[in-house]
């Protein structure tokens, strides 16, 4: 899987690159509009992370060029502008997703994977981790072939943690992803704990081999043996 990062902020670029390389993606980072244009002319990418505000041009122009030439690269717009207009405009131009800065690395990871999954939809929509199988289409989970009943939020938590397996997922990243658009208005994410507790118990009852580990004060990590 090849991913192109178009982002002018050096530290931001490095963070994104480090995160995605950990997931064994092949990552190419570029910093300017010019560089980006020369790259997309030559190579195919599975996913392009596109910052709109580039020093030498508008990222949306890159998106336009891509779509005009009929390239099938998936595009996720990454923007500090967080403006509804940009979002609507970007999605209208054919972007696959819109991620406003600042975002959590876990969220970036989840979005990239979701986009890639949609691309390869015809194939596999089962996520297998140890003895746990997650059917992404119908939200069914089974352990060793035995079905595990989860409510909507428990499923979302588990799926998000699985997407970010072996990585640290902070409480706020989890809350914003699972509890929706409005929960980021809350300033205290301790309520997540009870969901995690239920989930752990259910996984444990079915002898799942995966384990949700709390990381002091920060969040959770899904450990896979």
């Amino acid at each position: 899987m090849k991913i192109l990062i178009i982002e002018d902020e050096k530290d931001m670029r490095q963070n994104m690159q480090a995160t995605l390389e950990k997931e064994n993606f092949l990552v190419e980072p570029v910093a300017t509009y010019k560089e980006a244009m020369s790259k997309i002319g030559v190579y195919d990418y599975d996913c392009i992370l596109l910052d709109i505000g580039l020093p030498d041009g508008n990222g949306l122009e890159i998106l336009k060029t891509l779509k005009e030439k009929g390239y099938s690269d998936s595009v996720i717009i990454v923007s500090a502008k967080d403006s509804i207009d940009d979002k609507v405009h970007g999605l209208e131009l054919g972007a696959d997703d819109y991620l406003p800065k600042p975002f959590h690395m876990a969220e970036l990871n989840a979005r990239v994977k979701a986009v890639l999954r949609r691309r390869k939809m015809e194939g596999n929509n089962l996520l297998e981790i140890a003895n746990v199988t997650i059917n992404i289409n119908n939200h069914q989970v089974s352990v060793d072939g035995e079905s595990l009943e989860l409510n909507r939020k428990e499923f979302d938590v588990l799926f998000y943690l699985c997407t970010n397996q072996n990585r640290l997922v902070s409480k706020s990243a989890l809350a914003e992803h699972v509890w929706g658009d409005y929960i980021d208005q809350t300033d205290n994410f301790d309520f997540i704990y009870s969901q995690i507790k239920n989930l752990r118990k259910k996984l444990c009852d079915k002898n799942a081999e995966i384990e949700i580990k709390a990381v002091y004060g920060i969040g959770y990590k899904l450990l896979v043996p």
Partner: protein, 419 residues
């Protein structure tokens, strides 16, 4: 007091004194002139009588006024030598008026055929009390006439002249810096009003400009903070993930992350607030508020459960109202979160949707300060709160042309959204 009435009152008072003074001077001047011409007349008459006496000495013995207006009496040379002509006022009985009336009298001496005579000539005089009375009434009429003229002039001319001023005043009354409504200045020939319009225009433009630049500054500052915040948080997340830090340091890292995330939320709220005020979020659609409220309750259920607060919903009406859906969602979630957050555990938050509007009711021990709660950073001092939630809510309802009020009744805080 209105400007027009103010000047009229001034004129009324000043005119009383001016007219009074003028009448006094006029009265004495005219009296003086009357005496002068009367005395001239008497002198002339005296000379005529003396001439007549030379032709007809019989009149030298006329010693009663009766039908004539003079008497002649003989006098001694000694007396006449020291005598000079004298005019004086005296009273004389008038048959027609049946009373004593003032008359002017000239006393003089003359010599005829070696004999000295004293002559007294009278003429009826102006009746001063009548004159005064007449003058007084004329003055009253004059005064009333003048006041009336001033009133009419003020109301017609002045009003016309001051029209640009009142027009400006009216427009200023409706002006609001947030709404950015242009003021239309009336063209006028009057120098002062031209100047006033010019100055007001300049002042308003400057205020609007600085208001705008201040808003833009907040928005830009929040924007610029996004990236460094994102970088810091991400670096720390990667660090926590990669380095096998001992628990104590991990916990420290958690605290730093928590603070940075709080800063991010604060920044996002500020950005949101300035965006609402900068008239973004223009998109409008029909919103089914009942459904929206229910959706948000679901999202907050776990949060409420953790705070040990129950949420109950009563629907007495179905509310549909056009607006921006994103803002509506933020509004409802802010108010709900606020209610859950500030409710003692073990109690309940009640949401009531009625024809009146949507009420968020939660128990509380003391009323909040109404004037402050909707201001930025003035709300409850609770930890982990950005202090912007209610300010954002207020900005949203204003943007959507609705209203948000706070009341405290029977130990309950009640926030109501009116449509």
């Amino acid at each position: 007091m209105k400007l027009l009435n103010y000047t009229t009152t001034y004129f009324a008072v000043i005119l009383i004194f001016l007219l009074g003074l003028w009448a006094l001077i006029f009265y004495f001047e005219i009296l003086d002139e009357i005496y002068d011409s009367m005395d001239d007349g008497l002198d002339n008459q005296k000379m005529l009588i003396i001439r007549q006496a030379k032709e007809d000495p019989s009149i030298l013995s006329k010693n009663a006024f009766e039908d004539g207006n003079y008497i002649i009496t003989s006098t001694t040379p000694q007396h006449s030598r020291s005598f000079t002509d004298a005019y004086r006022d005296t009273l004389m009985f008038m048959e027609n008026e049946d009373e004593y009336e003032p008359v002017r009298l000239l006393e003089s001496v003359f010599q005829q055929n070696g004999q000295y005579y004293k002559i007294k000539v009278v003429t009826s005089m102006v009746e001063e009390d009548d004159l005064r009375k007449e003058l007084f009434f004329s003055l009253i009429w004059l005064y009333l006439g003048l006041i009336l003229t001033i009133l009419v002039l003020n109301n017609v001319l002045q009003k016309k002249a001051w029209k640009p001023f009142y027009k400006l005043l009216h427009q200023l009354e409706k002006f609001s810096i947030e709404k950015d409504r242009k003021i239309k200045f009336e063209t006028t020939k009057i120098e002062e009003f031209k100047l006033l319009n010019e100055r007001v225009d300049r002042l308003l433009k400057k205020s609007v400009e600085s208001y705008k630049s201040q808003k833009e500054f907040i928005e830009n500052a929040s924007h610029e903070l996004q990236t460094p915040l994102a970088i810091s948080i991400n670096k720390l997340e990667l660090m926590a993930e990669n380095a096998n830090l001992p628990p104590a340091q991990m916990e420290e890292l958690g605290t730093v992350l928590h603070s940075l995330e709080r800063l991010t939320r604060l920044n996002r709220s500020l950005l949101l607030l300035s965006r609402i005020e900068n008239r973004q979020f223009e998109a409008k659609e029909n919103i089914a508020w009942n459904d929206l409220v229910k959706q948000i309750i679901t999202e907050f259920e776990d949060f409420a459960e953790h705070q040990q607060v129950k949420i109950s919903l009563t629907e007495e009406a179905h509310i549909e109202h056009t607006g921006n859906k994103d803002l509506a969602g933020i509004l409802v979630s802010n108010l709900l979160k606020n209610a859950i957050f500030h409710t003692p555990s073990g109690t309940a938050v009640e949401i009531k949707i009625s024809a009146k509007g949507i009420e968020f009711i939660n128990p509380g021990s003391a009323p909040l300060e109404k004037s402050k709660i909707f201001s930025r950073f003035k709300g409850g001092e609770k930890e982990d709160s950005t202090g912007l939630g209610l300010a954002i809510s207020k900005a949203i309802v204003e943007k959507m042309n609705m209203d948000l009020t706070y009341n405290y009744t029977s130990q309950n805080h009640i926030f109501t959204i009116f449509f």
